[in-house]
Symmetry: none
Subunit: 257 residues, 2 copies
Amino acid sequence: MVQESRKKEILKILDEQESLSVQELEGRFKVSQMTIRRDLTDLETRGYLIRKYGGAVKSEAVESLFSFNKRVEENGRQKEKICRIASGFIEEDDVIFIDCGTTLFRLSHYIQDKTRLRIITNSLPVVSELINYSNIKITFIGGDVVGDRKASYGDTAERLIGEYHADKAFIGADGVSLSKGLSSYDEKEARITRKMAENADKVFLLCDSSKIEKNSFYRFAPVSLINVLITERKISVENTSRYQDNDISIITNTEEV
Amino acid sequence: MVQESRKKEILKILDEQESLSVQELEGRFKVSQMTIRRDLTDLETRGYLIRKYGGAVKSEAVESLFSFNKRVEENGRQKEKICRIASGFIEEDDVIFIDCGTTLFRLSHYIQDKTRLRIITNSLPVVSELINYSNIKITFIGGDVVGDRKASYGDTAERLIGEYHADKAFIGADGVSLSKGLSSYDEKEARITRKMAENADKVFLLCDSSKIEKNSFYRFAPVSLINVLITERKISVENTSRYQDNDISIITNTEEV
DNA sequence: GTTGAATCGATCATAATCGATCATAATGTA
DNA sequence: TACATTATGATCGATTATGATCGATTCAAC
């Protein structure tokens, strides 16, 4: 058996059983413990599993290269709907910031047929999705590339965003509430998001309804930063009017604007 | 049996069994290992399978969106060799510029197992290839993304490179000669290349031998910019010494330094 | 905490495989 | 037939994978 296929086999086994031991693999493949250890070490540096004493366990995010495979599936239909609605706000010749994250990634599906756009993003999946469309010009925000997020972050990235100005920014958040503003689970992402919002004329927050009036741990901006909140279904009349009192339009389908 | 039908047989076998070894094919077809290896190498360059130590595995159906299509590439083996040689110059903790282009892309294969590197690049395929390796930190040079080159260019990109400093730069060119220096077919690429070279302590030009003492239309730097020229086969003694007179080492295999 | 067993990783020696090269055989062609 | 082209096999130094050893580390049971 070829070495590489043994490693593939190992991953297949791990796909079905949460954890595995060096011993069991040693017997399974008829090779020495040392060889198994070497395989596991290698697979770990490639991010496919996490080495433990005596064996290995599943890695949290075993996603393929630039797709968000698994996470994309969660609430997929909701996100699709949100993005379809959001795409209605994109007009010819717009310059647009697109935030990173699984929701925003889907937006790129809906803008492929728009004419003459400039997209400014720090998201590699977005670039990957739009790179072959000649009608769309892409500016990628450089910086430190973070593997599991497939995007770039850091001081350089933030500074670069500040050098651009966009007509519209499409951003995400892990929570939004009138009292605490926008919040995120990840600080470095939040800093990028805020920077994009600050440098755009009009800010659209794409956010599924479960996150509305919820807060995540890092608060990074007041609600006044956003102009439009797009979500997949109607929210309570009470909340709608409270947001509107703060000059934020809430959009849940393409008819009402 | 005719050669071509043996190759077809090999693909049939691979269709059913994930991977195959040189050994098993040797017995199956009653030919020498060398012949099997040649078959596999050929099938690989045509994109039908992926060569691994000891045999071959199925070609992945879904390749990374950012990787170059290897099968249609000319001089693939030469480029592989050049990059294998070049990788020998990479040391632990190095900060490295990697230029874009099909040759330099292959370098990323050979640096995956290096420990602790920082790669600074404007090449999306390079990022795609290395993004999952936790031992390698990646800084992406932002800027205008050019689809068919899968890299970013422009004033922003050039300015950003100037903000960094690397121990080594690995660059490419479409021509190099003592009299006219480095030349390129593409001005915007050349500007990036030059900028990387200017901001690195040591500059390695990776260049197949057909481009040596040839010139392309845009001359962008004197030969004095480079320190080492790596190519796939020995060049004339005369040329070798002439380059050495200009303080440029010519490397064609791993021994001589 | 102490102890013993299991596991780990570093290192070295060995084995398998690799690709480059050259010689030979098979095939095609004038 | 003579010659060029192509495929194959054999050899060899280089590279890579593997296995064995051993002191260090980790774990679990006491």
